[in-house]
């Protein structure tokens, strides 16, 4: 007697389709796992898990960047000095909603921190070593949500 799968083309097709879907699903999971392994862990809802206290305490500005950022963004605060601006950036890291986004010029993933109440946005490198900016975006929440691959929700 021939096996059921050989006698019923429809059943055979369904089994092959299910197997194909299983393979594709597994392949998709594998890709996501690889990608996430190099990224910051993301919780449901887009928030990310980071040691924000360590970042706020230890992250540094690259040479010349604190001065440049204070000169460009200082009046938005108002922040009266570079040290006030720097302290504000670190507070934003401590209290803001954490998320990830993609820097479009370098295609590097960044950590973002946004405090809605004060409309402050701070960016740091993925490893939390460098503060890349802090400013008050004109469009507030819509700005951080609109950043490339932003996980802000």
């Amino acid at each position: 007697m021939r096996p059921l799968i050989a006698r019923w083309p429809v059943a055979r097709g369904a089994i092959l389709l299910a197997a194909l879907l299983a393979v594709l699903t597994l392949a998709g999971c594998r890709t996501a796992t690889i990608g996430q392994a190099a990224s910051v862990p993301t919780k449901p809802g887009g928030a990310v898990e980071v040691d924000r206290e360590r970042i706020a305490r230890e992250a540094t500005w690259a040479p010349g960047q604190l001065r440049a950022h204070f000169e460009k963004h200082g009046k938005e605060g108002p922040w009266a000095s570079e040290s006030e601006y720097d302290a504000s950036a670190r507070e934003t890291i401590r209290v803001g909603t954490a998320f990830t986004y993609l820097d479009r010029e370098s295609n590097a993933e960044r950590l973002g921190f946004f405090q809605k109440e004060s409309n402050r946005f701070a960016g740091v490198t993925r490893d939390g070593r460098r503060i890349t900016t802090q400013f008050k975006p004109d469009r507030g929440e819509a700005y951080v949500r609109g950043l490339d691959r932003s996980t802000y929700r």
């Binding site: 960047q65 479009r104 010029e105 370098s106 960044r110 490198t125 890349t132 900016t133 004109d138």
Partner: protein, 101 residues
């Protein structure tokens, strides 16, 4: 590791302004959009550029009101870039992109 960057309008503007300063081939790192709108639909960008000689400059893509043109201001050299950015993954990626390491 960062993927090859796409050619945004900001990147093209930065590349043109770097060429005007004698920097052709280059790699950007630690870049960041700064929220400020510039004429032409561009956005201010800060960051660093590495050139094939290993020199690093900090820059800010901005608008020069007097010249009514895009500019890199400030634009400043970083001394001893290798030591300064030794632990920055993006700097190391930039060095690899230019074949410096």
């Amino acid at each position: 590791m960062a993927r090859p960057p796409s050619q945004t309008a900001e990147r093209r503007a930065i590349a043109r302004l770097l060429r005007e300063r004698g920097i052709g081939r280059h790699a950007l790192f630690l870049t960041q959009r700064e929220g400020a709108a510039l004429p032409g639909g561009l956005e201010a960008v800060s960051g660093f550029v590495l050139d094939p000689r290993g020199r690093v400059h900090g820059f800010w893509l901005a608008w020069d009101d007097d010249r009514r043109a895009l500019t890199l201001a400030p634009f400043y050299p970083v001394e001893d870039a290798e030591a300064t950015f030794m632990d920055d993954a993006e700097y190391q990626a930039a060095r690899r992109a230019l074949g410096l390491s």
